[in-house]
C-alpha cells in the first residue's frame, strides 16, 4: 500500500462543480457580455475627469486644476511598460500581452526604449550583476514614472532571496509603487496590478 491520492472533502465544502470540466456546453461564439456593452465597460471613466475639469474651468480655478484631471486620466490610461524580461514572470508578462488577456485593451503597450516608457514592470529575479543596469534604465525613463514589482523575486527575492547573487527585493534599488504577489503571478494578477496602479495614479493628483 502506498500513498494513493484520495479525494476527501476539504474543511469547507467546495463549489458544487468541483472537478467538473467546464465548457462542455456548446454555446460557442456568444460573448459573455453583449457586444455593445463589452465595448463600453470602462468608457465612462473619462466623464468624471471631464466634469471636474469643466467645473474647474467655470469656477475660474488655477490652470492646474483645469487640465490636471484630464492629464491624470490620460496618464493612467496610457501606461507604456518597458519591454524586457528578467525571469519566469516575464513569460507570464508575455502571456498577459498574448491573445487571451490582451493587456493592450487598457492601453498598455510595451516599448523597447526606456525613453518612451512610463512604467517599469520588474518581472523576475534581480541579481546584483544587473542591478546597476536596472537603475540606469529607471533613470532613463522620463518623469512621471512608476515601478511595479511583479512576482515574489522582485518583491523580496522570492525563493532565491538567500542566494549570494540576488537582490532581496527591487525596492532596495528603485521606489516601487505596486507589488504583485505570485510565483509567478497569473496574467490576470498582472492586469490586476496595473489596474491598481491606475487607481493609485487617480488618487495621486497633481
Amino acid at each position: 500500500m502506498s500513498a494513493t491520492p484520495v479525494s476527501v472533502p476539504p474543511a469547507a465544502k467546495p463549489a458544487a462543480d468541483a472537478f467538473r470540466l467546464e465548457g462542455e456546453l456548446p454555446m460557442a461564439g456568444a460573448p459573455a457580455v453583449p457586444m455593445f456593452e463589452i465595448e463600453t465597460l470602462r468608457a465612462k471613466e473619462f466623464l468624471p475627469a471631464a466634469r471636474e475639469a469643466l467645473s474647474a474651468l467655470i469656477k475660474d480655478q488655477s490652470e492646474n486644476r483645469v487640465i490636471g484631471p484630464v492629464f491624470n486620466w490620460a496618464r493612467r490610461n496610457s501606461l507604456f511598460p518597458l519591454h524586457w524580461g528578467l525571469a519566469c514572470c516575464a513569460i507570464e508578462f508575455a502571456a498577459g500581452f498574448g491573445a487571451r488577456w490582451d493587456a493592450e485593451r487598457f492601453g498598455v503597450v510595451p516599448r523597447s526604449s526606456p525613453r518612451q516608457c512610463d512604467l517599469m514592470i520588474v518581472n523576475g529575479t534581480v541579481t546584483w550583476k544587473v542591478a546597476h543596469k536596472l537603475i540606469t534604465l529607471y533613470e532613463q525613463m522620463p518623469e512621471p514614472k512608476w515601478v511595479i514589482a511583479m512576482g515574489n523575486c522582485a518583491t523580496g527575492g522570492g525563493p532565491f532571496r538567500t542566494a549570494y547573487s540576488v537582490v532581496p527585493g527591487v525596492d532596495k534599488l528603485v521606489p516601487v509603487d505596486i507589488y504583485i504577489a505570485g510565483c509567478p503571478p497569473r496574467p490576470e494578477a498582472m492586469l490586476d496590478g496595473i489596474l491598481k496602479l491606475e487607481e493609485l495614479i487617480r488618487e495621486r493628483k497633481e
Binding site: A3, A87, I91, T162
Partner: protein
C-alpha cells in the same frame, strides 16, 4: 561607418531574457560576438544544498521557466538514482506525459518568440494563445501554470482529474490543425524563406565539438535523441520518430522543432491511451518518511542522525525541449543533497555563438538567436 562594438542586452528585444550579446560590427556585418551571461545567476545549485530533496523541485521549475517539467524530471531521475528509489509505472507515464506537453508548450513559446524576431506579429499571438491551452491542461492537474511542483522523489503528487484525457485529446486535435497554420505562415511565405535559408549555419562536426545539442544538432543531420538513444522513464515502450533535417540552417531548425511537436502529439496519444486503462499508485512503496509525498520533510534534523541512509551518486540525462540536459546529484546520506550540478543545453548552445553568428548581418542576429531558443534561466541557473 567604422568598426564598433555594440551591446545587445541586457535590455534588448532580441535577447528574450537577461543576457548581453556584445557584437562587433562593420556597417551591417557582424565581425565578432561575445556573449556575456550571468545576469540571471540565482545560485540554484548553491541553494539546493540547503534544501531537502523534495524542496529542490520548487527551484527546478524556476530554473528553466519554459520547460519546468523537463527540469523536474531531470532532477528527479538523478535524485532517485542517488537515493536508490524506483517510481511506479503510472507515475513514469504521467511524467512522460508532462514532459511531452511541456515540449509542445516550450516549442510554442519558442515559435512565438522566434517569429516575433522576424517581425511576424500575429503568429506571436497565435503561439501564445495555443500555448495557453497546454498550460490550462497543466493547471488542471498540477494547479499552476508555470511552476508545477508536481513530481516528487519516488513518484508524482497526484493523478490527473477525471475527464482529463479526453480534454487533452481535444487540445491535441486543435494543435494538429494549428501546426498546419504555422507552416502556412512561415514556410508558405517567400520572405520567411529568403530570411531563413542558409542562415546561421552550424555543421554537424562543429555542433559536436562545441557541445551543441537538441534541435540545433538534429537540424545538422545528426540523429541524436536521448529518448531513443538512452531511453529514460517509459520512452522505450513508446513508438515515435526522431525529427531530423540536413541543412543546418535556421529553416532546418524550424522544421525540426515543428516535426518534434507533431511527434510529441503522437507520443501523447499513446500515453493518454495507456493512462486510460492502467490505474495504479502514484508513489513508490517504502519511501523514507521524510520523502513521502503527503508531507514535506520536517525540519527536525536530529532524528536523521540516528537513521543513516545509504549514500549514492545519481546521474541523469533528459532530452529537454532545448537539448540535452544532465544532472549530477551527490547524496552523502543527509537530508540535503551534498552537491547538485546541472548541465544546461542552452549553455553550450550559446557558448558556440561565435560559430554561427559571425559573417552574417546585424539583422540576422535575432532570427539566428531565436532559432537557438535561448532560455536564460537555465543557462545562468
Amino acid at each position: 561607418m567604422s568598426e564598433m562594438w555594440i551591446n545587445m542586452g541586457p535590455q534588448h528585444p532580441m535577447t528574450h531574457g537577461l543576457w548581453n550579446l556584445r557584437v562587433k560590427i562593420d556597417g551591417e556585418m557582424v565581425l565578432d560576438v561575445d556573449p556575456e551571461m550571468g545576469y540571471l545567476h540565482r545560485g540554484i545549485e548553491k541553494i539546493s544544498e540547503d534544501r531537502h530533496y523534495n524542496e529542490v523541485i520548487t527551484l527546478m521549475d524556476r530554473c528553466c521557466y519554459v520547460a519546468g517539467f523537463a527540469w523536474e524530471h531531470l532532477y528527479i531521475l538523478a535524485a532517485e538514482q542517488a537515493l536508490h528509489i524506483r517510481p511506479p509505472e503510472r507515475a513514469e507515464y504521467l511524467r512522460v506525459m508532462s514532459d511531452e506537453f511541456q515540449r509542445i508548450g516550450s516549442h510554442l513559446m519558442w515559435y512565438a518568440a522566434f517569429v516575433q524576431d522576424l517581425g511576424l506579429m500575429s503568429p506571436f499571438l497565435y503561439g501564445m494563445r495555443d500555448r495557453d491551452l497546454v498550460l490550462d491542461l497543466f493547471q488542471a492537474y498540477t494547479g499552476a501554470r508555470l511552476t508545477y511542483e508536481y513530481m516528487r522523489v519516488g513518484g508524482v503528487r497526484n493523478d490527473v482529474p477525471p475527464g482529463f484525457t479526453d480534454r487533452a485529446r481535444k487540445v491535441l486535435d486543435w494543435l494538429d490543425d494549428r501546426y498546419r497554420e504555422y507552416d502556412a505562415l512561415c514556410m508558405g511565405s517567400t520572405i520567411f524563406r529568403e530570411r531563413c535559408d542558409d542562415l546561421g549555419i552550424l555543421k554537424a562536426n562543429d555542433c559536436v565539438a562545441h557541445g551543441v545539442t537538441g534541435p540545433m544538432l538534429r537540424a545538422a543531420g545528426v540523429r541524436r535523441d536521448l529518448r531513443k538513444d538512452r531511453p529514460y522513464a517509459v520512452y522505450k515502450q513508446i513508438d515515435f520518430d526522431v525529427a531530423q533535417a540536413d541543412a543546418a540552417d535556421v529553416t532546418a531548425r524550424y522544421l525540426v522543432r515543428m516535426e518534434e511537436m507533431r511527434q510529441s502529439n503522437r507520443i501523447l496519444r499513446q500515453v493518454l491511451d495507456w493512462l486510460d486503462h492502467h490505474p495504479g499508485p502514484m508513489m513508490a512503496d517504502n519511501l523514507p518518511r521524510w520523502l513521502g509525498a503527503p508531507y514535506a520533510p520536517i525540519g527536525n534534523e536530529g532524528y536523521l542522525l540516528k537513521r543513516s541512509y545509504p549514500k549514492g551518486t545519481g546521474f541523469s540525462a533528459v532530452e529537454e525541449p532545448h537539448g540535452e540536459a544532465c544532472a549530477y546529484v551527490v547524496n552523502e546520506g543527509a537530508l540535503h543533497p551534498y552537491r547538485v550540478k546541472f548541465r544546461s543545453p542552452v549553455f553550450s548552445n550559446i557558448s558556440a555563438a561565435r560559430q554561427y553568428l559571425v559573417g552574417y548581418h546585424v539583422a540576422d542576429i535575432p532570427p539566428i538567436m531565436g532559432s537557438v531558443d535561448v532560455c536564460v534561466g537555465e543557462v545562468d541557473r
